[in-house]
Amino acid sequence: MTPAGAGAAGGTSALTARVRVRLPAQLQKLAQLPAEIVVAVDGAVTQRAVIDALEREHPVLGGTVRDRATDKRRPFVRFFAGESDLSNAPPDEPLPAAVCEGREPFVVVGAIAGG
């Protein structure tokens, strides 16, 4: 299901894209948010721009998916879109059109680790 308002504009348009973001349970609870939210991204829809928007709209999530000092993805957090693991993709690379257009969410996953 596509949340209402997602994907109003996409790609590298100067317009505002409304990007769906799916959060892991721990961050839903921390920020008191549902599993999937929509954030507004101006300009190019990239990992960095989506996380910037996520942190701007929900300040409690600041520093939780990427390190505040280095902007690097936290080691036990992964990013997916559709079938693709984008965890190691350059942060300024445009996200797939399906994410930009609201057909697919940008998925933040807390890695299963620790046995």
Partner: protein, 371 residues
């Protein structure tokens, strides 16, 4: 009627325990922040309803929570802990330089008289200060930039700043302790620092009496005699009568002088408590007997306190921030274990009973005495 509130940080959340002044029956609330590690929960001395909690996760980093209603409800405050300038390097376990990197807050130390002022001790070792109730944090970089900083090396738990003592008569005087750098003190509010480890001897480092490099586990002081410090070092229980300028050993007749936690009686500055642990390779009590040892002579001579504590097959640990006292009469003493028990004594340690038995591993215990 007075009451006591225990603030308990665990591997999987925070718990708040309350009891009346008899301290026999405890109401348990929690977990708050379930699933997250809570290294420390500390209440403001100026406003006991204000409580901070250090919530942290290897997955999602550091969150600082604050309650203004005694732990009933919580809201995240600021979690931006930035090292000032180029953070430089410390030594890694293998002796190679490693860039300073913020990981988590180990200890929170609220001001004695300002409800908005709180200090935070971090891993990698640094001291931060908030003047707005935890919304924003500023590093006191003079500590990390001490000339010995590039030689600091982490203990097994990390390069953590776990002890912050603010002199009650002069808040510009502070003592901090770092594993495994040791003790440092300031007389100017944190601008400049000096090592305060003379008299410590650590066999496991290349220079056993080095200026820095000691694995100090915890330091405590009594508010009425703040210049007297008591230390549980990796091995050795130590005492300083001159605010850390020099130390001497007071392990005396303890069955083991390894341990983490140390406490001081609320009304008797020469009465102190430790929980001996067998060794640094066997983190459990000697002989499987969980014993608190009390010295009424400021160390040196110790008595075992066992009534109500398991005296067979007990293999828990008691971590550095997991002991606390209240200020009722008689003094209440509390400690938490890695087995999830919080033990309470309402008679200064003579007898013990579990306040709660099956929490996640306990990382920290603080006691608030409420009017």
């Amino acid at each position: 009627m007075s009451s006591v509130r225990l603030l308990v940080g665990t591997r999987k959340g925070a718990f708040v325990l309350t009891s009346d002044s008899r301290r026999e029956h405890w109401e348990v609330e929690g977990p708050h922040f379930g699933g997250w590690e809570v290294y420390h929960v500390a209440g403001s001395k100026a406003n006991p309803e204000r409580i901070w909690a250090s919530q942290t996760s290897s997955w999602f980093g550091q969150v600082l929570q604050r309650s203004d209603d005694g732990g009933k409800t919580w809201a995240a405050v600021g979690n931006e802990f930035s090292y000032e300038g180029d953070p430089g390097t410390h030594l890694w376990y293998d002796g190679t330089p490693r860039p300073w990197e913020f990981k988590r807050v180990w200890h929170l130390e609220p001001s004695l008289d300002d409800p908005d002022l709180v200090w935070a001790g971090a891993e990698d070792a640094a001291l931060f200060r908030s003047e707005d109730g935890g919304k924003s944090w500023q590093e006191l970089p003079g500590l990390r930039l001490h000339p010995s900083g590039p030689r600091w090396q982490p203990g097994a738990g990390g390069l953590c700043l776990h002890t912050i003592l603010v002199h009650p008569g002069d808040p510009a005087r502070m003592v901090v302790a770092i594993s495994a750098a040791g003790v440092l003190s300031t007389r100017d509010g944190g601008s400049t620092w000096a090592p305060a480890n003379r008299g410590l001897r650590s066999q496991f480092i290349p220079e056993p009496e080095a200026e820095v490099g000691h694995c100090v586990h915890k330091v405590v002081a009594h508010p009425s005699r703040p210049d007297v410090l008591y230390m549980q070092k990796h091995w050795d229980v130590m005492r300083s009568d001159d605010w850390g300028a020099s130390w001497h050993e007071v392990s005396g007749d303890l069955p083991s002088d390894f341990g983490f936690a140390i406490g001081v009686h609320a009304h008797e500055p020469e009465t102190i408590y430790v929980v001996p642990i067998k060794s640094d390779s066997e983190h459990y009590p000697p002989e499987g007997k969980l014993r608190v040892y009390r010295s009424r002579t400021g160390g040196g001579e110790w008595e075992a306190l066992t009534e109500g504590l398991p005296q067979a097959h007990c293999y828990v640990d008691v971590l550095r921030d997991a002991m606390a006292v209240d200020s009722l009469e008689p003094c209440g003493v509390y400690f938490g274990t890695t087995g999830g028990q919080v033990y309470a004594s309402a008679d200064a340690g003579d007898t013990w009973a579990p306040a709660v038995s099956n929490l996640p591993a306990v990382l920290s215990v603080e006691a608030q005495t409420l009017p």
